[in-house]
């Protein structure tokens, strides 16, 4: 992807829309956008106990736009591939798809720095990839193979990566862990912020409130992010929660409501949150209002508790990828051809990873008793066969 020479950009930018081909590549049919950056308005945030919120407009460079678009496209494609693999019974167990919610993860990740940590629940495939795990690492973990990021031992809900603490199956259990991660950042003085994500269903778990209290009491650099997709499995937010203002649930912790379908809103809000936490002001709660197209998991068609019309309506009017695409095309940050090229490349990458994820082998059987302990003092793992225990195996190098 070539960039415009800044001087050329100045020449070409103007009121009229014009496309020109670069002289350097003769055979290329690609047109280049006319603008190198553009500013977009963001839907107003709702604030709880905050005077000033995140920026209400965002500036994107052409490069930003393409990168964000690519990430959105990869996440969508990974979920589609996962859904298909599940239907083919190559992924077994559970599979919770993120389709529709991509803007939350992509926008947040764009603002995160390398030092920050993230922990989320089971709708985690997209986050795992964004935090550095290859598409193959994600897909083969889903298919339970050795190239999976957890060696195939965790499956869909237990994906991990650098500064990415999963991937957690038990609802809400990851949030107190997030507070602990934040404490570690503060203790180490590394300036990092911990992001603990959870859903609207988990918002009613008692342990969240315990975590809120500890974070506020000790001024931890923790951002609690509620990905409110409207439904906790099949229960709509109105039927599960006495208060659906999840951004205000932290009570004494200030909160922000963000349009989670807008990747720029989520990015700006996260930038604000990082600034807030790193200036010693303590924790923050963010509610990202978003939507999931699929059911709760692959066993849920997702149509018994909401109408197909509702799902269609969101797809047509608020889809995070389509609306972002429209914005960046309309502002001439990118061309349709560039986006198409990304789509094709992403599809190919995911398809290849899918193929490999199907053909790789599982880890060896000895790992059934592998890494149960750091140091297994008994040396053996007892069980089925009386008198023929398994050997505890230390798979990952001990340090």
């Amino acid at each position: 992807m070539s960039k415009l020479i800044p001087s050329a950009a100045k020449l070409l930018s103007g009121a009229t829309i014009s496309k020109s081909t670069t002289p350097a590549v003769i055979a290329s049919k690609t047109s280049y956008s006319t603008k190198s950056e553009s500013t977009f308005e963001i839907k107003p945030y709702k604030l709880h106990k905050l005077e000033k919120g995140p920026a209400t407009s965002a500036t994107l460079t052409a490069e930003d736009a393409l990168q964000l678009y690519e990430k959105l496209a990869v996440l969508r494609r990974i979920e589609t591939a996962s859904g298909n693999l599940y239907k083919e019974k190559i992924i077994r167990g559970f599979c919770h798809l993120y389709s529709g919610q991509e803007a939350v993860a992509v926008g947040m990740r764009a603002a995160l720095r390398d030092v920050d940590s993230v922990i989320t629940a089971y709708r985690c495939h997209g986050w795992t990839h964004l935090m550095g795990v290859s598409v193959l690492g994600v897909l083969s973990e889903l298919t339970g193979r050795r190239t999976g990021c957890s060696r195939g031992k965790g499956g869909s809900m237990h994906l991990y990566g650098r500064n990415f603490y999963g991937g957690n199956g038990i609802v809400g259990a990851q949030v107190p862990l997030g507070a602990g991660l934040a404490f570690a950042h503060k203790y180490r003085g590394d300036g990092g912020v911990a992001f603990a994500l959870y859903g609207d269903g988990a918002a009613n778990q008692g342990q969240l409130f315990e975590a809120y209290n500890m974070a506020k009491l000790w001024d931890l650099p923790c951002v609690f992010v509620c990905e409110n997709n409207g439904y906790g499995m099949g229960t709509s937010v109105d039927r599960s929660s006495a208060s659906t203002e999840y951004y205000a649930r932290g009570d004494y912790i200030p909160g922000i409501w963000v349009d989670g379908m807008d990747v720029m809103a989520t990015r700006e809000a996260t930038r604000y949150a990082i600034e807030y936490c790193t200036s010693g002001k303590g924790p923050l709660v963010m509610e990202m209002e978003t939507y999931r197209y699929s059911g709760h998991s692959m066993s849920d068609p997702g149509t018994s508790y909401r109408t197909r019309d509702e799902v269609q309506e969101v797809r047509q009017t608020r889809d995070p990828i389509t609306s972002f695409k429209e914005k960046i095309l309309a502002s001439d940050l990118v061309t349709a051809d560039q986006l198409k090229e990304i789509d094709t490349r992403v599809r190919k990458e995911v398809d290849e990873a899918t193929k490999q994820a199907k053909s790789e082998a599982e880890v060896g059987l000895e790992e059934l008793s592998g890494d149960i302990y750091y140091n297994n003092l008994e040396h053996v793992i007892r069980g089925i066969h009386p008198g023929a225990p398994l050997q505890h195996v230390e798979v990952v190098a001990r340090n």
Partner: protein
């Protein structure tokens, strides 16, 4: 004999798995229907889910203080055990709770203490742990610590448990042993529809808080002729399903079916008759039946899906060796899950299936 037995087992297993044909045949057991008739009268073919539904229906109909609540029970629950109950009995008696197990348990204990018959559903037994404090510290001790003034005997906590073929770490656990360690609770695990209905009705009517763990793999695959009327199967009594003199095989839930098949194999391949006991009630458990059986046979094998260390088999083994020491021809054998988290890809290697139990039985016999 081999061919016929194999064919019978095969065709029975095919029939049981007709609905599973499109899926990978991941069942590690063959289902043996209960042909007993606990009471006279009309019966209906019901699977375990329907039998449980029926028991709750009868309860809601006859006990005006009874309520059923839990995550998603209003539309029937994720396993449909509560199907149709909200329509029949109304939103104030059958209702959804938010996603908060500790809250559900505590709330249920409170209702029961105030005199209601509270049936609390925990969506998967793997999620019961936030409620563990409430159940162990409150429910189990309520009567004792108040000197009998208050109790939550009207509480029954139901949860689907056990391996299902693809559940992984958090949809396959068997936590019965944890709860047997809390005096004041009763823990019950049925092996099929007839047992489920009778035992659930007993638990609901019992004046002590009960944990009723339902092996989820049996919800659909186990179908029997279940009496439509109300009947109870007493808690604390084990069932001898097969009589024999060579060895006593003890299990509960899904594992009972594994051991029945092992007994068949033993009869066919080793020419011995094993006694198979379904414990049914884990706490309190029927020491008398088990020990009398072991005195007769001299050999005992206990099997369960839960991990070996401190699994309930440990309690059984300790008691059997203490009570039947001089009658034992061999040490008590336990065939259980490995001391590892319930694995994702290794499930077939984790479970104490037929071949593994049979192998242990052979060692037991040849000791």
């Amino acid at each position: 004999m081999t061919g016929i037995l194999a064919q019978n087992t095969l065709s029975r297993s095919l029939l049981q798995n007709v609905s599973n044909i499109v899926k990978r045949l991941s069942s590690h057991f063959t289902y043996y229907p209960d042909e007993s008739k606990p009471i006279d009268g009309q019966t209906n073919k019901m699977n375990m889910m329907q039998a449980i539904n029926n028991a709750m229906d009868i309860t809601l109909k006859t006990d005006s203080s009874s309520v059923l609540f839990g995550e998603d029970v209003a539309f029937g629950g994720v396993f449909r055990c509560a199907l149709g109950l909200q329509e029949k009995y109304g939103k104030d008696r059958v209702f959804n709770t938010p996603l908060c197990e500790q809250g559900i348990a505590g709330f249920g204990i409170g209702m029961a203490t105030a005199g209601a018959t509270a049936i609390a559903e925990i969506q998967f037994a793997d999620y019961i742990f936030p409620a563990f404090d409430q159940l162990v510290n409150e429910a189990a001790k309520c009567r004792y610590r108040s000197g009998g003034q208050f109790d939550c005997g009207g509480l029954t906590v139901r949860a689907p448990c056990g391996a299902v073929g693809h559940g992984g770490l958090y949809h396959s656990q068997s936590p019965e042993a944890f709860f047997t360690h809390a005096p004041g609770l009763k823990v019950v695990v049925p092996r099929g529809p007839i047992a489920a209905k009778g035992l659930l009705l007993s638990c609901i009517r019992d004046r002590d808080p009960c944990i009723f763990l339902e092996p989820k793999i049996l919800y659909r695959s186990a179908a029997e002729e279940v009496p439509v009327d109300s009947y109870e199967i007493p808690i604390g009594k084990a069932h001898i399903l097969r009589e024999g003199d060579a060895a006593t095989l003890v299990a509960w839930g899904t594992q009972v079916h594994v051991l029945l098949q092992v007994a068949d194999m033993a009869s066919e391949k080793l020419g011995i008759n094993c006694e198979v006991i379904d414990l049914m009630s884990i706490l309190p458990w029927d020491e008398e039946t088990v020990c009398n059986s072991v005195k007769k046979t001299g050999r005992c094998l206990v099997a369960h899906e839960a991990p070996l260390t401190s699994g309930f088999g440990a309690e059984l083994a300790a008691t059997v060796q203490a009570e039947c020491f001089l009658h034992l021809e061999a040490p008590v054998s336990r065939v259980t899950g490995w001391d590892a988290p319930f694995p994702h890809v290794f499930e077939p290697f984790y479970l104490p299936d037929t071949m593994r139990c049979f192998s242990a039985l052979q060692q037991l016999i040849n000791y």
